[in-house]
């Protein structure tokens, strides 16, 4: 039997030089390329691929990083089928270029050689506080450091990286990648303060006094909302499940028969962990159908290939247990009705159709709780998400925000958080430059 680490080892191997050169040479080098448009950070993709082809791999990495400081993470976790590769002009009649894997090739090159190709500008004397060291915070902090600002990054957890580190299954992003990337941001001159939680308005106003600008990249809570059903206490939190698979794999308890509630990408990650670590039967229970689920089509396909079963239109109503522990999840069959506020048809229970999914472990992956950080900074929110303008400015002067904590609609991806951080950094830079003549940041 495979070791647990092997079972969750990074799924795609690195491209060899041979593979990278052949693939890079296949790229047509489109002008104003659709892949670049489709990338939320608008990396000059044909440009970096051409540089791989000429074996200017360091220059290739520079092209990537100048648009996206988290190029190593994005190369692995981006839903490329929905972004760059999905837009590739070769996709219609041939195979799209493997953009994600080529990006990883260039990123691996610089990280392996420890030859980071970007340098920070001379110090401006301006200080910026960044709250949260997930993708948005790291991106913002790194961009600001490159522009010469003194950045302090506050992270309540012990390690930087946010969901990249704690929340994405190792077979898509190994733990070391997120950490190495965060260490690189630190080396750009960012002061990293991990294990520091900002949980009071006093702490927030302290930051306001000590810094010229603040960026909130707080993400969402690292736990999931309650389902509000009997036996809730037996349900394992999906994010914790993923986190333990990365931090404490040896002690992660895996049931023989596991039900995962929810059908987003985290649900798929949880189901994959269970399956790969020995669960005989893994079932994803979702109250709507495959049309409405938020997991990407390629993730859904991946899960089915892993042998994960799907029960659609299944709403959990009770966790069943006895003295030995969980014995099953009782569900009711749903039918779809009118569209709700998310634009999806709202499911309604058919109470005459209760059934039980036998299970000795139930995991929920049903979205994250909203963060309370908005309140302590007194910024305006909408349905719990921080409101920002297109420059990532919040309602509060000098306070900017980005990442999952602002993403009220659409899919929240790592790469979009990176772009938020980048846009915010540039807005802050512009604001600090004008503030140099006009006093404080407006």
């Amino acid at each position: 039997m495979l070791q647990r680490e092997d079972a969750l080892a990074e799924a795609l191997p690195a491209l060899s030089k041979q593979e990278a050169l052949v693939e890079a040479n296949r790229c047509l080098y489109c002008y104003d390329a659709p892949c670049t448009h489709a990338c939320p950070t608008h990396i000059d993709i044909p440009g970096f691929i051409k540089k791989i082809a000429t074996e200017n791999t360091l220059g290739s990495a520079r092209t990537i990083l100048s648009a996206n400081l988290l190029g190593a993470t994005c190369a692995r976790v981006c839903p490329v089928q929905e972004l760059c590769e999905g837009a590739c002009v070769l996709g219609a009649e041939h195979k799209p270029i493997m953009i994600g894997r080529l990006q990883r090739y260039a990123m691996d090159y610089v990280y392996r050689r420890d030859s980071f190709p970007l340098a920070s500008a001379p110090a401006t004397g301006k200080k910026v506080a960044v709250v949260g060291a997930g993708p948005a915070g790291l991106s913002c902090a790194g961009e600001l450091a490159l522009l010469g600002h003194a950045v302090t990054l506050f992270e309540k957890r012990n390690f930087a990286g946010g969901l990249s580190a704690y929340g994405i299954i190792a077979l898509r992003e190994p733990w070391e990648i997120a950490l190495t990337e965060a260490a690189m941001i630190e080396r750009l001159g960012v002061t990293m303060r991990t294990g520091v939680e900002l949980d009071s308005t006093a702490a927030a106003s302290g930051l306001r006094n000590d810094y010229d600008a603040i960026f909130i990249g707080g993400g969402l809570e690292s736990s999931m909302p309650e389902l509000g059903i009997p036996g809730e206490e037996h349900i394992v939190d999906g994010l914790k499940y993923v986190e333990q698979s990365k931090m404490d794999l040896a002690n992660l308890r895996i049931g023989r028969s596991v039900v995962v509630i929810g059908a987003g990408n985290t649900a798929i990650d949880c189901a994959t962990i269970a399956r790969r670590l020995g669960a005989e039967r893994v079932t994803i229970a979702y109250r709507r159908t495959e049309r409405e689920m938020t997991a990407y089509p390629h993730e859904y396909e991946f899960a089915r290939n892993e042998g994960i079963e799907f029960r659609f239109l299944a709403q959990p109503i009770q966790v069943l247990s006895d003295s030995s522990g969980v014995t099953g999840l009782e569900c009711v069959v749903m039918s779809l009705g009118e569209r709700d506020e998310s634009g999806r048809p709202s499911p309604r229970p058919r109470w005459d159709s209760k059934f039980v999914l036998r299970a000795d472990q139930v995991v929920k992956a049903i979205g994250q709780l909203k963060h309370s950080v908005a309140q302590i900074f007194g910024v305006k929110t909408e349905r719990g998400y921080i409101q920002v303008d297109d420059k990532m400015k919040t309602s509060s002067p000098g306070v900017f925000a980005g990442g999952d904590c602002i993403r009220a609609a659409g899919s929240a991806t790592t790469v979009m958080a990176v772009q938020d951080g980048k846009i915010a950094a540039r807005s802050i830079h512009t604001a600090l430059a004008s503030a140099a003549t006009a006093g404080r940041v407006a």
């Binding site: 050169l21 052949v22 040479n25 296949r26 047509l28 080098y29 489109c30 002008y31 104003d32 390329a33 659709p34 892949c35 448009h37 489709a38 990338c39 939320p40 608008h42 082809a53 089928q81 929905e82 972004l83 760059c84 999905g86 837009a87 002009v89 070769l90 219609a92 009649e93 297109d390 979009m416 772009q419 846009i423």
Partner: protein, 461 residues
Amino acid sequence: MADLSIDFAGIKSPNPFWLASAPPSNSGLQVHKAFEAGWGGAVWKTIGAPVLNVSNRYGAWHYGSQRMLAINNVELISDRPIDVNLREITEIKRLWPERALIVSAMVESTPEAWSEIVHRIEDTGADGIELNYGCPHGMSERGMGAAVGQVPEYCEQITRWVMDAARIPVIVKLTPNVTDIAASARAAVAAGANALSLINTLNSITGVDLDTFEIVPSIGGKGGHGGYAGPAVKPIALNMLSSLGTDESVSRSNVPISGMGGISTWRDAAEFLLLGASSLQVCTAVMHYGFRIIADLCEGLSNWMDERGVTSIEQIRGKSLSRISDFKDFDLAFRAVARIDSKKCIKCNLCYVACNDTAHQCIDLMNASGEVVPPYGYAATSNGKKQAVETRPQPRVREEDCVGCRLCYNVCPVVDCIEMIELPSGRPSITWDELSQSQPAVTEDWEAMERYRGQMGIDIH
């Protein structure tokens, strides 16, 4: 089914494809294998003066993922004992009487040496002799190969010695490392050569190693020019071939020409035939893929001939030579413009950037409403495949401004997507030659040229 057989200056061959004198025809074993695969003939690797070879003989020019667009070599003529070569030639000819077996020769420049080698070759039963006046490296330093081919007087003198001795057909192989290859050809014809072949390899240095600064390939730290051949030289070979076909004295002599230089496919072969070759020699393509390529060479050529109702090689030989013309005889009133088939277009915009950066700025990007939009015209917040694909503008040619340069046609990666359409220019046909005779001022003076353009409605933007 078309008859591919040829009679080349009396040398009969079941098809026009011969192995060129080169490493593939180095031994009886190889030539036997090639004949088994179906090659019509072979020109045995040059025999003659004693030599020793070095290692790291071949460099190559790769482009992108395409290996060996051209090869460069510093291998000399055969380094096998001459007696062994002659014995194997005799044996191969005995085994394959209906295939063409020609022996390439190169010896020091004396009548005695040439006379001796000619007689020894004839004793093998070979069908012909090819005089190697082309080898650009090594042998030329010793007064042979290109050192002969580059001086028409030497070429003529040595050919006369050979013709005095030879009873079988003699082919003079020409070097391309000259300014005017027709002058070499005229010298060979004047000396009575039965046939010509071209091109031998071009002087070249493949490259420099960026780690060691050595020449590629490195021969113990040194390197130098070698002979360049392969697909990349085909256009040069076609030009040289046609320059013989259009040379009055060479074409009047009616000596057949064996064409070579980058022939890799039957399509290349057909082009050589159309520009006047009667037989075809192949080397680099075989060195890349082996003798087996003969199957497609023959079948492809035969099918192409059948489709056109052509029954023999002779019927198509030189059929495009009449199209070769000087610039002064081109029709200045001919007008072609590029047109992009939007259904086939994949919107890579390679035509757009080529036209706008380096040609005549007549391709626009149009959005779905038909408005001209700039490149990179999307908002920083726009992303995802749906937006990228659905809002992607379409390149379109402004035909009224298109000069018909054909750059876009050449860069387009999609088959038959960009077409060059002939449009009436509204002007009477006239060549530069006719213009300079009828209105000399227009061709000599810019102001007269401007007036002429005005009259003709020729607008240069």
